[in-house]
């Protein structure tokens, strides 16, 4: 390739693309150059001055973070001179940095500790006391700043400016008095604040939820996918003594999260250990719930379904859910009910009508390169926050943001013809609007469409067949049943005898909650599987306590169609079961054949690989043509059964026994 530059780093010849920074080029020869202010996603700032290297022909040490590789450059990263420079910088950083490492959250994963160990002198010439500064500045609802520890690398400030576009964090004052701050009296508060705690190379910025909770080496770490929205960011779940203490981004996850997490994914984790969780199946008898055991619960459920089918036929039974389940669970959900002869199946319990964008489905990275971002319906800023960061990235490159609540023909004329690459983001609610949008931009050469779903695995639920008119892989279903709203209508009219709802709260999610209350109140036998006693669950005859996403394993499909692993990180409370486990038992009780473990995996993978040939706004009740797509390179869960809890693999509290 013509665009490669040849240079030598530590005697090893390297070829890297033109324009590469030295600090990145050095990684190709596995040489780590220490950095504080530089960050791959934030670019060079040249502030910390620790990434010093020697370059032949240059008398002074150069910073690797702002040096672009040159043809024939001879670079030495490990020399006495470079080490001396780095030692000086670290010594200076430590002049006023407190050595409170024993009580610092960052201790053990701190760049200042690591590089001090690698480069700094073991003694100090500092004869004066360190300058005292405020130790716990309340920056906002999520973050606390320790000003003494801050080394003013400005990563947080640059993140807030370049990535989040919020510009709420700035440097105030000057020189040695430099501090990180927000505007006076204004909290540091937006959707992405937590990222600054990860960017901070020292323990200056800490999360309120994690402060003083653990040493990092005592955490058990599991990599999984966030299921709180449809983006599917890869994340680490860090657990200690069976409690989820924090979630962290995965720095290699360029494809999906771009290495960022939103505050919802990062901080909305307290519910796993909430005392309000339902931990026993509950059966309503005479208006009050009584605890029943699982065997009885499953039998009551199966009996109700059997009776209803026997008495009123398949139209009297329905199941709703899938958007908040794993693919395996969604697959088994339709398998169990269809196996019993039920046709009323849908994942849709809210406003959203469609989750699969069809053949023009885009990859998340496409957004960055689009000339125009068209937002139809609700903004993805709240629905899919981390995707929104890509939109901001595109805007910074000069892309146009076009927002419309409604479709319009004028838009087609105004924009459609002139744009070569467009990313269309829709909320999947108004089918007619979606259709118009799809038509308006059908002629665009590079069109990527996305549907920002209300539920994390909505797209997976559709692919797994949780639609009244299509089965796994969008296979045509001859006897289509009622959709979600249809079932609620039937329920209100007394036509539905048994309704099973999985991981959905239509009462809260509906703008017509009174009608919804009436509808659900009219179902003679309502089954709700959830973590909490929700408004919907309070109407139930039978409440089944379910596991949360981090308490089970499986796969999920994000809004770009990537099949992503969900791995168990947490031991669930005693008494709860995953939807998969419940459905297996239900299959047994109903006499529906169970798929073998491997067969279920294969069926899920095969269904997920189907790309339906339709556009935004196409109703999904009719038959759709599909094409097979090459499975994504992303690793799916390895090993055998994805639903079985394998005690030997559990990374749980046992590992911490030494301490107690």
């Amino acid at each position: 390739m013509a665009d490669l530059v040849n240079l030598t780093i530590d005697g090893i010849p390297v070829s890297v693309p033109k324009g590469t920074l030295l600090v990145e080029a050095a990684k190709t020869v596995k040489q780590e150059i220490p950095v504080y202010c530089y960050h791959t996603k934030l670019g060079p700032a040249g502030l910390c001055r620790v990434c010093l290297v020697e370059i032949e022909g240059m008398p002074k040490l150069q910073i690797a973070c702002n040096t672009v590789v040159g043809e024939g450059m001879v670079v030495k990263t490990q020399t006495d001179k470079a080490d001396a420079g780095r030692a000086m910088v670290i010594e200076l950083l430590l002049v006023n940095h407190p050595l409170d490492c024993p009580i610092c959250d960052k201790g053990g994963e701190c760049d200042l500790q690591d590089f001090a160990m690698a480069y700094a002198r073991s003694s100090s010439d500092v004869a004066d006391p360190k300058v005292p500064k405020p130790k716990a500045v309340d920056l906002g609802p999520t973050i606390v700043l320790d000003e003494e520890r801050c080394i003013v690398c400005q990563r947080c400030v640059r993140f807030d400016d370049i990535i989040a576009g919020e510009k709420q964090l700035v440097v105030k004052d000057r020189g040695a008095r430099d501090i990180i701050a927000t505007a006076t009296g204004e909290p540091y508060h937006h959707n992405f604040t937590g990222n600054v705690t990860e960017l901070c190379p020292v323990g200056a910025l800490t999360s309120k939820t994690y402060r003083f909770k653990s040493r990092p080496w005592d955490l058990n770490r599991t990599q999984t996918s966030c299921t709180q929205c449809a983006v599917g960011c890869q994340q680490f779940a860090d657990v200690r003594y069976g409690t989820l203490l924090r979630t962290m981004s995965v720095e290699t996850d360029d494809d999906i999260s771009d290495t960022w997490l939103c505050d919802r994914g990062r901080y909305n984790i307290g519910f796993y250990s909430s005392p309000e969780r339902v931990t026993q199946p509950l059966y309503k008898k005479g208006g009050t719930f009584v605890q029943v055991d699982w065997t009885d619960a499953i039998e009551l459920w199966a009996k109700a379904i059997r009776d209803a089918l026997h008495d009123g036929g398949p139209s009297g039974v329905g199941a709703i859910g899938g958007g908040r389940l794993t693919n395996e669970e969604a697959y088994l959900l339709q398998h169990a009910f269809r196996g019993a002869g039920v046709a009323n199946l849908d994942w849709r319990a809210g406003h959203q009508r469609q989750a699969t964008p069809g053949a023009k489905s885009g990859r998340l990275a496409d957004i960055e390169n689009a000339q125009a971002i068209v937002v139809a319906g609700q903004s993805p800023e709240e629905l899919a926050p981390v995707m929104w960061l890509r939109v901001l990235k595109a805007l910074r490159k000069g892309a146009k943001l076009i927002h419309e609540r409604e479709a319009s023909a004028a838009l087609r004329q105004a924009q459609g013809d002139t744009m070569q690459s467009v990313a269309l983001i829709w909320d999947g609610i108004d089918l007619a609007a979606g259709k118009t949008f799809a038509d308006a931009f059908a002629g665009v050469a590079a069109l990527s469409t996305f549907i920002a779903s209300e539920q994390g695995n909505a797209r997976g639920a559709e692919a797994m067949g949780m639609l009244p008119g299509s089965g796994p892989g969008f296979a045509s279903i001859s006897n289509a049943g009622r959709d979600g709203w249809g079932m609620f209508e039937d329920a209100r009219n007394g036509k539905l005898a048994v309704l099973s709802i999985f991981g959905a709260n239509p009462v809260r999610n509906s703008s017509v909650s009174d009608a919804m209350n009436a509808a659900l109140g009219s179902v003679p036998f309502l089954v709700v599987s959830d973590l909490f006693m929700t408004e919907t669950a309070s109407h139930a005859t039978l409440v089944l306590p379910a596991k949360g996403a981090l308490e089970k394993s499986g796969t999920t499909t994000n809004l770009a169609g990537d099949l992503l692993p969900v791995n168990q990180a947490l031991q669930p409370p005693d008494g709860v079961r995953s939807d998969l486990e419940m459905l297996f038992d239900l299959c047994d009780a109903l006499g529906v054949d169970l798929p073998a473990p491997d067969a279920l995996d294969a069926a899920v993978i095969s269904a997920a690989a189907k790309v339906p040939d339709f556009a935004l706004g196409d109703a999904l009740f009719k038959t759709v043509a599909c094409e097979e797509r090459q499975p994504e390179h992303r690793p799916i869960l390895s090993g055998g059964g994805t639903w079985q809890h394998d005690p030997t693999m559990a990374p749980l509290s046992a590992g911490n026994g030494v301490l107690v």
């Binding site: 500045v137 920056l139 609802p141 909290p187 709260n505």
Partner: protein, 259 residues
């Protein structure tokens, strides 16, 4: 609300044309930040929080950006100062020619030290870096007007004239009672142990409403049922980032079903 705060909207109206004239001189609005702050300081005696907010609005900046920038510059007083700001040169050329004695004399006569204001609010005293009048040591500035070749006698006369209100240089406007110190915010913070500029009254992170919310319900509520006001915010930010272009296509079509 102080009197100054009450008067601010009227002042802002009065200064608007001048502000706009200044902004128009630059290719990018933000350039006008320091000139605007000089204007406001001239009319209020210091850079008030209201002035900073007004500038942020005029220049499409966040409050944090304005505060962060202002805090870099020592001539912009973020707190009220005395009627006479006495800035004595401590530069090397003055200092080897008797500036130390002059500074000691000032401190004795005023009863305050570097970066303090006298309790009666008449004098603010500061020892500053080289003022570029090294040929006439010791030099100083009174409300930014030079006074050179200082002697104790000259100082006595000057202070007397200031106290009597007959001094040649006009006093600073004083719209608020001056603070004891004004230069660096952090001095006061460290001294009093106050814990910041951050958020006062922000709910506990484990409260419902978002972060750590026990059921995730509230967050969901914001997403599904919340009135969507995000776009204005997005647009504001995009406009700030001048390279981005945004556009809203307004339409009279029927509203979304269910919304």
């Amino acid at each position: 609300m102080t009197e100054r705060e009450q008067n601010f909207p009227a002042l802002l109206d009065r200064l608007k044309p001048e502000c706009e004239r200044i902004i128009a001189q630059y290719e990018q609005k933000r350039s006008a930040l320091l000139p605007l702050m000089h204007v406001f300081q001239q009319h209020e005696g210091f850079v008030s929080p209201q002035a900073m907010r007004a500038a942020a609005e005029m220049l499409d900046l966040t409050h944090a950006e304005v505060e962060g920038t202002i805090s870099f510059y020592t001539l912009l007083f973020r707190k009220p100062v005395g009627k006479y700001v006495l800035q004595v040169c401590r530069g090397l050329a003055c200092s080897i020619n008797g500036a130390e004695e002059i500074m000691a004399y000032f401190r004795e006569k005023l009863g305050i030290v570097h970066s303090q204001t006298t309790p009666d609010g008449t004098f603010s005293y500061e020892e500053v870096e080289c003022l570029a009048a090294c040929d006439k040591p010791t030099c100083m500035q009174v409300n930014l007007e030079f006074v050179v070749s200082l002697t104790p006698q000259k100082i006595d006369e000057m202070l007397a004239a200031m106290r009597a209100g007959t001094y040649e240089t006009a006093p600073m406007l004083q719209t608020e009672t001056p603070a004891a110190t004004w230069t660096f915010q952090q001095d006061a913070q460290v001294a009093t142990g106050r814990k910041s500029a951050g958020a006062v009254g922000v709910p506990n992170p484990n409260n419902a409403g978002g972060v750590g919310d026990a059921s995730g319900i509230i967050m969901l509520d914001r997403i599904v049922n919340g009135d969507v006001t995000f776009f204005e915010r997005t647009r504001e930010r995009a406009v700030r980032d001048s390279r981005a272009v945004t556009e809203v296509v307004e339409n009279n079509g029927s509203s979304n079903a269910g919304h």
